[in-house]
Symmetry: C2
């Protein structure tokens, strides 16, 4: 069943007259058409028992028609009123809209006011839970892209580790990573790349700057790349110079917790099971209070999506879910260690996408 058919079925089952989806990411996910509409309207209308249609800026209409999208494309020029055009299209199809599924955390006041006007204040239903639950289970095509994105993340860490040298600043190392990625054609990062050295790695608000790498520092890299619209997210922490006993102890604890959590992943376990596997190991080692965040988050077209891997999320893992496992220990003013992999829930266990070594590297 196609994604559009899944939404149609959901509309049928819930007696909803239509879905009106406007976030560029969800439109891409449902229609396969990538579009940057800026302030213009991009939307897909989906119905319980009619063909959907796509609304795009006139500039992009030609591309949309040749994008593989099999249904109607309605191009809207800058001099047209998109809402009037929607009203007419819906009217010509003899559709009555009393209930409408929308993205309640995305659609803004002015657009709702326009929908209220053309459809006489329909009842709004949230479409987001449904779409997020679909996006949570990755297809083979999606896991392939996520695997490639993880390759790019491994490569970025490799560059970063090679760049470390006494006196180099965090920002210089960061610049070198992104430069070499760009030269290889990887130009989009999943989020602002983090290179943090020494005590900076222990700050939750750490921002890379002009701090120089010094002997005795732990250096933390947290970064990801976007390949074909899909994100990776990796963290590695390495030692510059022989680590202290405390640094080693923290590192080994995080590594043990991270590895145990990875090994615990399989269908049937809950998100909480995985989080607590790591959390208990860290707590037993006496560092519980220094691991203040959730274990991980889902990963896909967004760098943060479902599922949220927390100690209280009882969601059961299913084949096709992809998320991060990233425990950390942060001793304020001293050092931080975090190790993060991207993992896929397989039919019977787990595949770990990110492959850069997790053994402590000493430079």
């Amino acid at each position: 069943m196609s994604k559009i058919e899944k939404i149609s079925k959901w509309l049928q089952e819930n007696n909803i007259d239509a879905a009106f989806i406007t976030s560029t990411e969800n439109v891409l996910y449902l229609t396969g058409f990538p579009c940057k509409p800026h302030e213009r309207l991009l939307a897909v209308f989906i119905f319980p028992d009619q063909d959907p249609f796509l609304i795009v800026p006139q500039l992009d209409a030609e591309d949309a028609m040749h994008s593989g999208w099999k249904y109607d494309v309605i191009g809207i020029s800058d001099t047209e009123n998109p809402w009037e055009k929607i009203r007419e299209t819906i009217k010509n199809r003899y559709i009555r809209i009393d209930t409408l599924a929308i993205e309640k955390d995305h659609l803004v006041y002015n657009r709702i006011a326009n929908l209220d006007k053309i459809f006489s204040k329909p009842m709004y239903i949230s479409a987001e839970e449904k779409i997020w639950s679909m996006r949570m289970i990755k297809s083979n095509e999606e896991t392939k892209k996520l695997r490639e994105a993880a390759r790019g993340a491994d490569f970025a860490i490799e560059i970063g580790v090679k760049e470390i040298a006494a006196g180099k600043t965090e920002m210089q190392i960061l610049a070198a990573i992104e430069y070499q990625l760009k030269k290889e054609g990887i130009s989009k990062m999943s989020f602002d790349t983090m290179v943090l050295t020494g005590a900076n790695g222990a700050s939750p608000h750490g921002v890379p700057g002009n701090t120089k790498v010094q002997h005795g520092d732990l250096v933390m890299f947290d970064l990801g790349v976007v390949i074909d619209g899909y994100c990776s997210d990796i963290t590695r922490t390495v030692a510059f110079g022989e680590p202290s006993e405390q640094q080693r102890a923290i590192y080994e604890t995080v590594l043990k917790a991270q590895t145990a959590a990875c090994n615990a992943v399989k269908p049937g376990k809950t998100c909480a099971d995985i989080d607590l596997t790591a959390r208990n190991i860290i707590a037993q080692a006496g560092y519980g209070e220094f691991f203040p965040h959730r274990l991980g988050h889902g990963l896909g077209m967004s760098v943060h999506e479902s599922p949220s891997v927390t100690s209280v999320n009882q969601l059961v893992l299913q084949e096709g879910m992809v998320f991060t496992i990233e425990p950390g220990i942060y001793i304020p003013g001293i050092a931080g260690v975090r190790i993060e992999d991207d993992v896929l829930v397989t039919a019977d266990s787990v595949e770990i996408f990110t492959q850069f070594t997790k053994e402590l590297i000493i430079i």
Copy 2:
């Protein structure tokens, strides 16, 4: 009068009970507090005749209190309901909210539903026109930052021009620019940097890729940097190898149009006057149909803001406005030329922020 006082006065004059501003940019503009709330609530409440208050994630409350903001800060932890806390705060101040100014192009359905609940469906007024009109006139402090951002843009073009060599790809040149900027501590671009060579420069959808620079190409750079939260935006087009007569003719026409438009800027002229100054020169040279976009756009914390410099905008220029002047001629399949400066309307004429030479550089 402070920015907050200006909003208070506007609320008084229009009988609006409060303004509820939530976009991070407008909150920063009005309060001076920079915050990245992610999915959490960040907001400033402003009243006609009471002190305002700031709502921030609990994590950021400490920073907000020490940010120079003189009024109340309400921190909201992840386990609290922000809307309930707002309801109580407003109630304790004996304020009744029947009309509320919001950002209608920013505030999403779920947040409006919460406001409807705690304030019994107030009437919503748009705050955006007021804030945009304030942001359009830059203070001395703001023009200083914009001038520095323009210095960064000049530097980026300088790097890019030096990097041009036969066989180098657009992406390689782009990577070198951003790398050298980062090494100098400039890590944020105003938008995705564009380096386009040959026919790519003539495409409105041009995206830098693996096209190599060849003798006879015009190479177009369009980029900007963000310094202290303020954006620059510059375009320069240079020739790699001796340009053809057609390329020279296009270049000279764009340069003449761009220079004339810059020289036409002064208080009292309209946006349309400036646009038409350039547009008429290009039309008279026979290239009218190949200049399909507006002359420019306002520039500040956003890379696109008011005023919009179009042939129909009758808005009168005032001292303190900052905008781009960027005419272009694009001959499909052949070449594109665009030249862009950032300019400030001064008391009696114009200051041009971007200073990289506009004479045709031949490499």
